[in-house]
């Protein structure tokens, strides 16, 4: 889902950068007001952990493999979509600059998709679903949506940029990420959540907020 340089025209890249800078401003303000100083090193180390987690291949039916993005699970564990945004922004900056995964002009767009849409959709759908469902189905659906919706957004953005037709884009991105969303993001995040809930429930911030 990392869109590389060259596919999106410069003027559109600037718009995504502006959105990311505005959300970034609120995220830093949120971090100053709500995080105690302990959580800054935690976010940094967590970003390194997410980086390694994203490098792990997860088998997908059809003999291919996918990987997790982790925006929803970070937002839910830390208790704010801004945390997911900050962690993913750091990961994407390093991936874009040092690995060429994603790009420099498209960095704003990639942070917008995975950091903003992924974290916000994941966190708020989890919060909304928890009102009607229990923890496990809520986290499964929220994590699935946190990958599937950005993939759909990605197809839309490529269409706006004139790089790929809408229907074909929605079809390719939709089907591929539907399966990855269920297996790599949904099932894995749910298992991770259950396991952390069993061994270190104190780490799950959304629990503290709700109680």
């Amino acid at each position: 889902m990392h869109i590389p340089d060259g596919l999106i025209p410069l003027e559109q890249c600037i718009i995504y950068y502006i959105i990311v800078i505005i959300v970034g401003y609120f995220a830093v303000r949120w971090a100053r007001e709500n995080l105690d100083e302990k959580q800054i090193p935690l976010l940094a180390v967590l970003a390194a952990g997410i980086f390694a987690i994203q490098a792990m291949n997860i088998p997908i039916p059809w003999g291919t493999s996918g990987h997790m993005v982790g925006a929803a699970i970070v937002a839910i564990l830390i208790g704010s979509p801004f945390a997911g945004f900050l962690v993913l922004a750091v990961v994407l900056i390093i991936q874009g600059l040092a690995f060429g995964d994603g790009g420099i002009t498209t960095l704003g767009l990639n942070i917008f998709n995975m950091g903003i849409i992924g974290s916000f959709v994941g966190f708020y759908s989890f919060k909304g679903l928890k009102a009607v469902l229990s923890d496990v189905p809520s986290i499964f659906i929220a994590s699935f949506l946190s990958l599937f919706i950005p993939a759909i957004a990605c197809a839309l953005e490529l269409w706006i940029a004139g790089a790929f037709p809408l229907i074909a884009g929605l079809y390719f991105m939709g089907i591929y990420h539907f399966v990855i969303g269920i297996v790599a993001e949904g099932l894995i995040s749910t298992t991770v959540y259950i396991a952390i809930n069993n061994v270190r429930p104190d780490l799950i911030a959304t629990k503290k907020i709700n109680s």
Partner: protein, 263 residues
Amino acid sequence: MNITLNNIEQETWKDSIIHNLDGRIKLILTLMIVIYSVYTTDLKVLLLLEIYIILLLLFSKVSISYFVKRVLMILPFGGFIAIFQPFIKEGLVLYTLPFGLTISYEGVLFGILLLSRLVVCLSTIVLLSSVTPLDSIVNSMRKLGFPKEMAMILNMTVRYLFVFFDELESIAKAQKSRCFSIWNRKTSYSWRLKQIAFTIMMLFLKSFEKGETVYYSMLARGYSGEAISYKEESPIMKIDYGIIVLTLIVIFSTEIILLNGFI
């Protein structure tokens, strides 16, 4: 094509005229070339930029096969979109294929343009990351005015990235020694998935716990949340200015020649 984080970092410790340039200069240079190649729609300009990057690569002593491998490794996603263009762009039909597929002239041109842009941008980024250590890239961003909080998180992330990749490698080795493979059909799919989920959970827990330990050790050294980290002073040398001027000359002269229709 097994290129790990350590391989990338090892390549950056070579000694060459390009490696020794200031990190800020290399970052600005990369930005200039990437932005210009996304801006241009002329294939000749892209060819010229690629030649310039290859010349810099030759001066940098970075192995060419390593460079090509890295570019090829990250090309597929964008390459897929570029290769599809002849079939999806409307225009003058060059060939008609079975199943109602057509190849259009405009599509071929647009596809080549996208692919050339991708190759130039990826070559530039791979060159930057092959001649600049990760912490130097991050420190340069800070020196160029990146927000303090984000720069601090980035800096720490880069430090712990290597710890987690080592961790991941030792987990993978331990699993391999027990004959675990994600493709092994002798075990059930759900069981394999569960093992991967537990590994990811362990990495999550390790990052949380490492984060706490790091915080306590920082606290013991006087960290208060308002810590100032000192940056190494590195004056910009004549050669640094020289390479920026050279790149500007390449970009502006190409643009001026192009505007006047000489090429």
